[in-house]
Amino acid sequence: MKKKVLTVDDSRTIRNMLLVTLNNAGFETIQAEDGIEGLEVLENANPDVIVTDINMPRLDGFGFIEGVRRNEKYRAIPILVLTTESDAEKKNRARQAGATGWIVKPFDPTKLIDAIERVTA
């Protein structure tokens, strides 16, 4: 069975890159443009893993992660944070919000897939 990934990113460029990379790697991909949409889409999507950006309009990545962790159905889902910030503070905030791991942008396909493989069975 194909693994399903939900990606949340406001940048069309990044969304497309994720889509291409993930589809090529044999994942099923669903996408959202910001945290609010991410939470909406999540409800019926049943993904195996979530990849989210931090800086987004309406609801940022931190808020989105917290939202997912509050969701009874998805609170244990692996969430990877996609971020250009590799410094400890951002990572820590993401972790405190409930992120499982992170991927430093700019990502190459191997890095992305590796990270997803690490947190999914």
Partner: protein, 759 residues
């Protein structure tokens, strides 16, 4: 989709982000302190940086990075966005746009400029006074503060707590270690905490990854597992002792635990191969290999969450309560936001609405829309032809076909309007580009200029927008370069040393009117007149009204600047502007008050594709008069016609006189004046505001016509705006009302006017 397509999307997105960036910065410049504005600005730069990184556009990344760092200082309230700060930022936005363009189209950017700005941005991030405030803006190279470190960007990240230092990690890094050295064995004590599972990490997966590093044995310590009835399914009870022999070393092991190390007790010790056996034996707890079937992990399914369905209700309740609290907070926040919005001007409210609706858009290839518009144009013509042939063949005139045709007409019309609406876009992007033009010219000329834009959301056909940028840029340059005085002079005159250029767009009677007003010196009529005489445009003793003198600037080769400057071009001045506006079916006029400034008014059609017209007959020719120009139609009576001068006639309408213009005569369709009593008068209003009564022979009806350009297929014909195809398949010319009115003032339609009759 391949990478090139994604790259194309990236550049499209960059353009949007740059527009967002600029409008945000301008809002800040106007005193907006909404954190969301700062956030949006930050995000724009951040997004560009992120995408640029993905495509390895290093110049763009490094500049965006410095810019972002400084913006982050504003975001975290460490840097007050004063006008001087924003000046640097607006310039940086321009450079960012240049870098983006250079990345897309090749070519180079002004490196000195971007280096200067990088230094200025870094200085701002370090809390230094903006350089722009101290040095003249016209000399940016000198403006660089000597205090700022001249070190290259990437190597010297600005000092702030979010200093970005890319540490890209790769799991392949460790391959480089020579494998022929000793192979170390790592002993790992791994005790997950509850949080590890709560954050979606999974001990079994970590063990799986460890097992991939090398030969591994695992001992699971289950001693702290309580009896079932006392067990909390969310708690972590197990710990593991692992021994793995791997050439990836301790670092490799740490990498496996990278995501988990905060949420577990982790102790990793490296023992050399030779002593593995001994070390293992010396352990208090014998390492008993536990069968560890990795295949279960590959079956899919959520391993760790097997124990979680038994959710404690209070937890759930707490979660719900928390969610409620959050939504309440969100409500309060949104209410506060609404209040703030209500206080804002109507224009910005409209903007906010638009922003809210922005989520529901799709992107369509322009070609598709154009094809649709062309098809609808054909449909309109076809429908007209069909109606006509039905009317001709239908003897009793009341058949159901007629009813159906009327409905078809209605539908066609609606389809057409809807299709046109697809093409309509706000003039905002063009206006935004002008902001940059103003900044650049202000910088070069050393003038201080404020651009105020109004009605940015006025919509007009995309073709019109695209073609508007060039003439508008030219006019703005003129306004700043020639119109506005130097700050000292303005001050001496008692004006605000900062000049104002106001760019306004609005809809007026089916057209878009764009006004460009400056509060500069106005037109120096004496100078213009002298120049016109010098250039043999007018006779030395010509008696011209102020308005006529003002309009001289639209003559070819006319430039009032004593020196030809880089900015306003070399003599290709307002005549080029006028021609490009006319090519769009528009008109331009100027009004100027000495000492108070000039106003250029452009009136443009909303669409270049269709027109509501009155179909009329003049000397046996069928013409179309744009309906927007017509105020009323009337049947002249003999008593209302008055002769005036040698050949002029006036018509009296409700106690006022209005010049009567014989269209057939002006267009040279006939040589003698027609008898007004035989025809119909169309009262039209021209851009100048004056009314004229146009004499035509008969009115055939009112119709929507599809505009076919004459210029594209033939050549420009004075007095004729375009052509169209009528229902019977014949070509009819569309009258250029303003040209005809102007011709009636005595300025004859020049050029090959007789061609107009046959064309």
């Amino acid at each position: 989709m391949d990478m090139n397509e994604i790259k194309e999307i990236f550049f499209q997105e960059c353009e949007e982000q740059l527009a967002e960036l600029e409008s945000g910065l301008l809002k800040l410049n106007d005193g907006d302190r909404d954190p969301e504005t700062v956030n949006a600005v930050f995000r724009a730069v951040h997004s560009i940086k992120g995408g640029a990184g993905a495509f390895g556009l290093d110049d763009l990344v490094s500049f965006a990075h410095v810019f972002e760092t400084t913006l982050d200082c504003v975001r975290s309230n460490k840097l007050e966005p004063t006008q001087d700060v924003l000046k640097v930022m607006l310039k940086s936005a321009d450079v960012l746009a240049d870098l983006t363009n250079a990345a897309r189209d090749g070519g180079s950017v002004d490196e000195a400029r971007s280096r200067t700005l990088i230094r200025e941005l870094e200085a701002l991030a370090n809390g230094e006074v903006p350089a722009a405030a101290e040095a003249p803006a016209s000399k940016p190279a000198v403006a660089a503060p000597k205090a700022a470190a001249p070190a290259p960007v990437v190597e010297k990240p600005a000092v702030n707590d979010e200093g970005f230092q890319p540490i890209p990690f790769s799991f392949g890094d460790f391959d480089e270690e020579p494998a022929d050295r000793y192979v170390p064995t790592c002993q790992i004590l791994f005790r997950p905490k509850k949080d590890l599972y709560a954050k979606g990490n999974e001990a079994a997966l970590l063990l799986r990854d460890l097992s991939r590093l090398g030969e591994m044995s695992i001992y699971c310590d289950m001693d702290s597992l309580p009896p079932l009835d006392k067990m909390n399914p969310e708690e972590a009870y197990f710990s593991w002792k692992i021994s793995v022999t791997t050439d990836k070393g301790e670092d490799g092991v740490r990498t496996v635990f990278e995501f988990a190390e905060w949420d577990c007790d982790l102790d990793i010790r490296t023992i050399e191969e030779e002593v593995v056996g001994e070390a293992a034996n010396e352990e208090e707890l014998p390492m008993q290999p536990v069968p560890f079937d990795l295949s279960i992990l590959d079956e899919g399914g959520s391993t760790g969450s097997d124990e979680e369905p038994a959710v404690i209700e209070s937890d759930a309740a707490a979660a719900v309560a928390a969610a409620e609290t959050v939504s309440k907070v969100a409500q309060v926040a949104s209410r506060a936001a609404e209040n703030a919005k209500a206080a804002a001007s109507a224009a910005s409210a409209a903007q906010a609405n638009q922003a809210a609706a922005a989520g529901q858009t799709i992107r369509v290839d322009l070609d598709r829309v154009d094809r649709l518009i062309n098809l609808v144009g054909e449909l309109v013509i076809n429908q007209a032809m069909l109606s006509q042939s039905v009317v001709e063949n239908d003897t009793n005139g009341t058949s159901s076909i007629n009813m159906g045709l009327e409905e078809l007409q209605q539908l066609t019309r609606e389809i057409q309007d809807s299709v046109m609406a697809i093409r309509a876009q706000p003039v905002k992007p063009v206006f935004q580009r002008m902001a940059r033009t103003v900044r650049e010219i202000a910088d070069i000329t050393g003038k201080s200029v404020r651009l105020i834009t109004e009605g940015e959301n006025t919509e007009v056909d995309k073709t019109v927008i695209d073609k508007l940028a060039e003439p508008l840029t030219h006019m703005i340059r003129n306004a700043v370069d020639h119109g506005l005085e130097m700050p000292e002079k303005r001050e001496a005159l008692g004006k605000n040393p900062e000049g104002t250029v106001r760019l306004t767009a609005k809809h007026r009677s089916g057209r878009i009117v764009i006004e460009l007003a400056d509060d500069g010196a106005g037109i120096n009529r004496e100078k213009v007149r002298q120049k016109a005489i010098d250039n043999d445009l007018i006779a030395a003793d010509a008696n011209l009204s102020d308005e006529e003198i003002d309009n001289l600037i639209f003559h070819a080769g006319f430039s009032t600047a004593d020196k030809v400057s880089d900015l306003s071009g070399r003599g290709v001045g307002m005549d080029v502007v006028k021609r490009s506006i006319q090519a769009l079916g528009g008109r331009i006029s100027i009004s100027s008050k000495p000492g108070q400034g000039s106003v250029f008014t452009m009136s443009l059609p909303l669409t270049l594709a269709v027109l509501d017209g009155m179909v009329v007959t003049v000397a046996g020719q069928t013409l179309v008069v744009p309906l927007t120009a017509i105020v009323e139609t009337l049947q002249p009576e003999a008593s209302a016609i008055h002769s005036f001068g040698a050949s002029q006639r006036l018509i009296s309408i409700r106690n006022s006189f209005c010049p009567l213009v014989d269209v057939g005569r002006i267009l040279n369709f006939r040589n003698t004046q027609a008898n007004p009593m035989d025809g119909v008068a169309l009262l039209v209003e021209s851009e100048g505001g004056g009314q004229r009564a146009l004499m035509v022979d008969a009115i055939q009806g009112q119709r929507q016509v599809v505009i076919k350009s004459l210029e594209a297929n033939y050549t420009h014909v004075p007095g004729i705006a375009a052509a169209t195809i009528l229902g019977d398949g014949r070509v009819a010319l569309i009258l250029d009302v303003d040209a005809v009115v102007a011709a009636s003032r005595g300025q004859s339609l020049r050029q090959d006017i007789s061609l107009a009759a046959t064309g």
